[in-house]
Symmetry: C2
């Protein structure tokens, strides 16, 4: 359990623990060549919100405090057990941003207020830094928390599988491919996406990893299958709300506040919720997702901890 | 055990088992979007030698037949247990070729006698297909062989870790970054590599995955730590011999026979063994590695099976 009196304190504390762990887990020269180490750190420590790893820790925390939690292994508290999974999820998220920003993909030059990695290190090193982050994330998951305890080994492998399934060709990578096709940047005619198509694309592209972030935390905390399914439903709604708000912010936001180029979606003819439903209905839809997410938590007895507040934070954020 | 009377029969049988398993394991639409599924298959089924997965199966086979083998789990024969690891290694090898061929990296347009993936599908889809293959490889390793048996779960996680460590920033990706720097294709001055530097670069770039291929097979077969270390030493020498022969073939070969552009190394001012030591000394060095590899096998009691013959095959190959 991470003790905190307000969501802001919880977020700060969780973020610090993730940042400190990432610093410790990332390879340094001479383990890895200097240029790769530098490039990976440039993107990993770029001032991201750390939504996904915070969600991993919050899910572990909530499961450990739930009425129906399976007794957690006495050796490692739930949040500590989930920290490697949280970091792995953030490394994978970072790799996906690096590759998405490449000229061959979304061709973005600004991210979190700084030049994107390929602008600074060139496309080749950026591709490699992304590839390395993905492999290092799985290596970290396989290694930490250290120990031969069959309970921990089984949870690690299960969490790893949830994350790998979420980011492969059937998940995140598949979603980005659909996005590329919709934007007319893949061979053949541009893919026309209707409302269902946009939802399915986002379910893969951003939804899958957000779900895996929460689910892997719950697995490391020893959640029962029933609780795990509730965490997954909660995170599905959270991910959808997150994506809708992202689209809204892209329409409404200024480049300075966002730290990335605003208005990119419309300029690139990207399929978005506001383009399909208008701003007002999109906002209603995001709020509806949060209501449903809170309901799922209540029904599953996951009311202690910060998962409900995190859902509110996701729709109220300004960047 | 794969019954075979000659190396050629063993190679054919192992290759068929790998191809059949890859066909079964790779996602198909609608699990994954069609374009990603097609792109991944284009490169996975491009007529590769399958050296690495064959090595995984041969290592499992040799360990299972060794005098000092730990009793293998009765449920799954060693070679079957190693098949998912073999396929994961091949998927990762394929992803690395796709990314290495990109214009931002080695800029190769021909591979195994066919246009490279990015020439056919564009750079964006090629990057995604590579990313997807890497994630799908780890998902496969985490999933197969299916079962909750703690022995299998522990071996799977251990094999997965060996492979992930081998291909991350401290391994394959790090080696490719050094190669990029040596070729003057990364920011700053071109990196000057002496003989030790070239060896260290190749130890990461090609050596690490070849070692992990053999070691993961041995792990899945239940090798004792001592046997595992011997398999690792054998594969280190094998990988070195493989790379030297690769460099020699690039100098001597014709594009038609190789199925990739010959003379690329010299044209790109790439650091190679023939460039550093000349062809004759390079050939001697490769043969010396094979002698040492056979010696390691003999000392470790790994003489049944095909590992020694595979070492001979690696130095005598013409493409």
């Amino acid at each position: 359990m991470i003790p905190a009196e307000t969501l802001a304190i919880f977020l700060d504390t969780a973020r610090s623990r993730v940042d400190e762990a990432l610093e410790r887990y990332l390879p340094v020269p001479p383990e890895c060549p200097e240029i790769v180490g530098q490039a990976m750190r440039y993107s990993v420590f770029a001032g991201g919100k750390r939504l996904r790893p915070i969600l991993t820790l919050a899910a572990a925390d909530a499961v450990a405090q739930a009425d129906r939690a399976r007794p957690v292994t006495a050796l490692i508290p739930a949040v500590d057990a989930a920290l490697p999974a949280a970091c792995a999820v953030e490394l994978i998220h970072t790799y996906s941003l690096i590759h998405d920003d490449l000229p061959a993909m979304d061709n973005d030059t600004l991210r979190r207020g700084r030049p994107t990695l390929h602008v600074v290190y060139g496309d080749g090193v950026a591709i490699l830094a992304g590839d390395g982050l993905q492999a290092d994330a799985f290596a970290l998951l396989a290694r930490e928390p250290v120990g031969d305890d069959p309970v921990i080994v089984t949870r690690k492998l299960r969490a790893l599988r949830a994350i790998a399934d979420a980011v492969g060709s059937t998940g995140m990578v598949g979603g980005q491919a659909l996005d590329l096709q919709a934007a007319g940047r893949a061979p053949g005619h541009a893919l026309a996406l209707d409302a269902d198509g946009v939802r399915a694309m986002h379910a893969r592209k951003t939804g899958a990893l957000i779900r895996a972030a929460a689910v892997s935390g719950a697995i490391m905390a020893g959640a029962l299958d029933e609780t795990l399914r509730a965490v997954d439903r909660y995170a599905t709604d959270l991910g959808l709300a997150f994506q809708i708000v992202d689209d809204i912010l892209d329409v409404e936001g200024k480049t300075g506040e966002l730290g990335k180029t605003a208005g990119k979606d419309a300029a690139g003819a990207k399929p978005t919720y506001p383009a399909l439903f208008g701003l007002e209905r999109s906002r209603d839809f995001a709020n509806h997702c949060v209501t449903r997410a809170r309901q799922t938590l209540a029904e599953a007895g996951l009311t202690r901890g910060w998962l409900a507040d995190i859902a509110d934070w996701v729709v109220s954020r300004r960047s």
